[in-house]
């Protein structure tokens, strides 16, 4: 059996509402694919369609080269970890991990070894005799992962696995998941999250979802540096989105002609210019924009300035200033031409 997941035009409807709209997506064998999007974007539905808990209205789901669309969940051979862990409260840790092996009638002699391996891998070997209620949230999550890995799935589905943990534990577990993936290079992982940091850190590729549709898909660097839609630009990294009119060379924003790459966009058309706030600098330079400071937020190592240019607010993250500037101060900000991306109107739902 090969690993990998393929969505082939998968549509899911709930009582007349389309919650997943003809999704086409392929997760390569051994790849970590993050499904990133706000709540209600359809990302969890997509994962549950792979698990077999929702039935697509149309389209097919493949695990490896096997069409699993009509298979019940227990015949799909997947490992799944959900936000609330779903450990069986009446079973000890070792019995939780052994559950899938017993259910699949793995020979009795093999079970203890595989349970021990899975617990070892997640660092929970010392807790085998405990009940789930005696474990912390992070420990329960490790057991849930061990339980999913014990059946040696080709595909691992992770549904917001870190959302129930506090920030510090979360970054630890993130590193842990990355390590696990290095140890299990053949397992495909579908990772559902609303947290861009998790997606950027862990994923080989990110599929950005919004309003039941796939908006964008690419490597983290790709999506971050060259977003194709306004939604991606704002959801991943909270970019400045400036409405511009495309000219022959550059684009006009609030009467200022900016030197930005415009290849492919028709002169005279309107478009959106995407610039990351941390790439906007204070002071004169190329592509300078002048305005008043509308709001300032001190964020420790940086200051976030909201500069009012015409009717728009340009966000600039600058290295911490010695003195917090007063509101209303006239300032100039600038950005390098190569740091801007022009998004043509009509791409995605922009």
């Amino acid at each position: 059996m090969t690993s990998g997941i393929r969505f082939d035009g998968v549509t899911v409807t709930y009582g007349g509402n389309t919650v997943l709209d003809s999704l086409d997506l392929t997760v390569e064998p051994g790849e970590v694919m993050a499904l990133l999007g706000p709540s209600g974007s359809g990302k969890t539905t997509a994962l549950r369609a792979v698990a077999g808990f929702v039935r697509p209205a149309s389209g097919r789901v493949f695990i490896g080269d096997r069409d699993v669309t009509a298979l019940p969940p227990y015949e799909r051979g997947i490992g799944m970890v959900v936000q609330q862990y779903a450990l069986f409260p009446h079973l000890r840790v070792e019995d939780n991990v052994a559950f899938g092996l017993k259910a699949r009638k793995v020979p009795k002699g093999e079970i203890p070894g595989r349970v021990a391996d899975a617990l070892e891998m997640t660092g929970m070997a010392a807790y085998a005799r405990r009940h789930p209620r005696e474990l912390s949230g992070g420990q329960q999550q490790r057991v849930a992962i061990a339980r999913a890995l014990a059946i040696r799935p080709n595909v691992l589905l992770l549904d917001e696995p870190l959302s129930a943990l506090d920030a510090q534990l979360r970054s630890g577990m993130l590193a842990e998941l990355a390590r696990l993936h290095r140890e299990l290079p053949d397992v495909s992982i579908l990772y559902v999250t609303h947290d861009q940091v998790e997606a950027l850190t862990l994923a080989d590729r990110i599929a950005v979802m919004d309003r039941a549709r796939l908006q964008d898909c690419g490597t983290p660097q790709d999506l971050y540096r060259r977003p194709r839609t306004e939604f991606t630009a704002s959801f991943v990294g909270n970019a400045n989105l400036l409405p511009v009119t495309v000219g022959e060379k550059g684009a006009a924003f609030e009467g200022v002609t900016l030197d930005v790459p415009v290849s492919g966009a028709a002169p005279g058309s309107t478009a959106t210019l995407c610039v990351r706030p941390h790439l906007v600098g204070l002071g004169p330079g190329p592509n300078a924009l002048s305005g008043r400071i509308g709001e300032v937020q001190w964020r420790g190592s940086t200051h976030r300035l909201y500069v009012e240019v015409g009717g728009h607010r340009v966000k600039a993250d600058v290295r911490e200033l010695r003195e917090t500037p007063a509101l209303g101060t006239e300032v100039t900000v600038h950005f390098a031409p190569e740091d801007a991306v022009l998004l043509a109107q009509g791409v995605g739902d922009g």
């Binding site: 698990a51 015949e75 799909r76 409260p89 009446h90 899938g100 259910a103």
Partner: protein, 265 residues
Amino acid sequence: MLVHSRTGRWTAWSLFAVLFVPLFALPLLVILAASFSTHWSGAFPSGPTTAHYTAAVRGESLQALTTSLVTAVTASVVALTVGTWAALAAAALGRKGKRVLDALFMLPVAVPSVVVGLAVLVAFSQPPVLLNGTRWIVIIAHTVLVTAFAHQSVSAALRRLDPMYEQAAASLGARPSYVLLRVKLPLLLPSLTAAAGLCFALSMGELSATVMLYPPDWTPLPVLVFTATDRGSLFTGSALAVVLMTATLLVLLAVSRIRTKASYR
């Protein structure tokens, strides 16, 4: 806190005591006191005795107690099995099927117990099944009366059972039958024992249908309490009532201990 002034609080508490003590606490105390007495003329009972209890654990009374216990246990076990089965089946059905099944199993709650007694009497006094005059007719009526409560408790527990456990088990490769035995039933165990306790208590105190049906050799305790009271032996009746309450409470207590052990969280 709703009332902040001291006097206000004391007013509320006195009102509570004035209503609660005579209405709820006093009746049980009175029965307890009467069961140890031979006379009640004047404000308080008199002639302390334990003779009623000596009589209550012997002969006819003892037989009535065992009759009640056997009836209650049998009815509870059958009701729990049927009710749980129906609740599980209903939960697996679609919305419409579940509605129909739930309604069917709720119906005995709304039908007066006397009518259940009458119906069972009418049905099993004629062919094909003749049970009139046997203990089975009493047990059947009790089972009908408590099945609805078992069904209702178990369906409520099933509704509260998070589907994520079932789904986690399915994702690990467990077939529905395996999920039922290894995940659902163990997780429902606390609710099942609670339902068993409820059924048992209801059956122990059942009088309305029983008086329509009981044969002379299968007289449950409540009927005996009634016949004693009816012929004017109020003190004997009280002692029997206390035995009834104690037996019920002891079983409920035992059940709740099992529950504490069975609840995992």
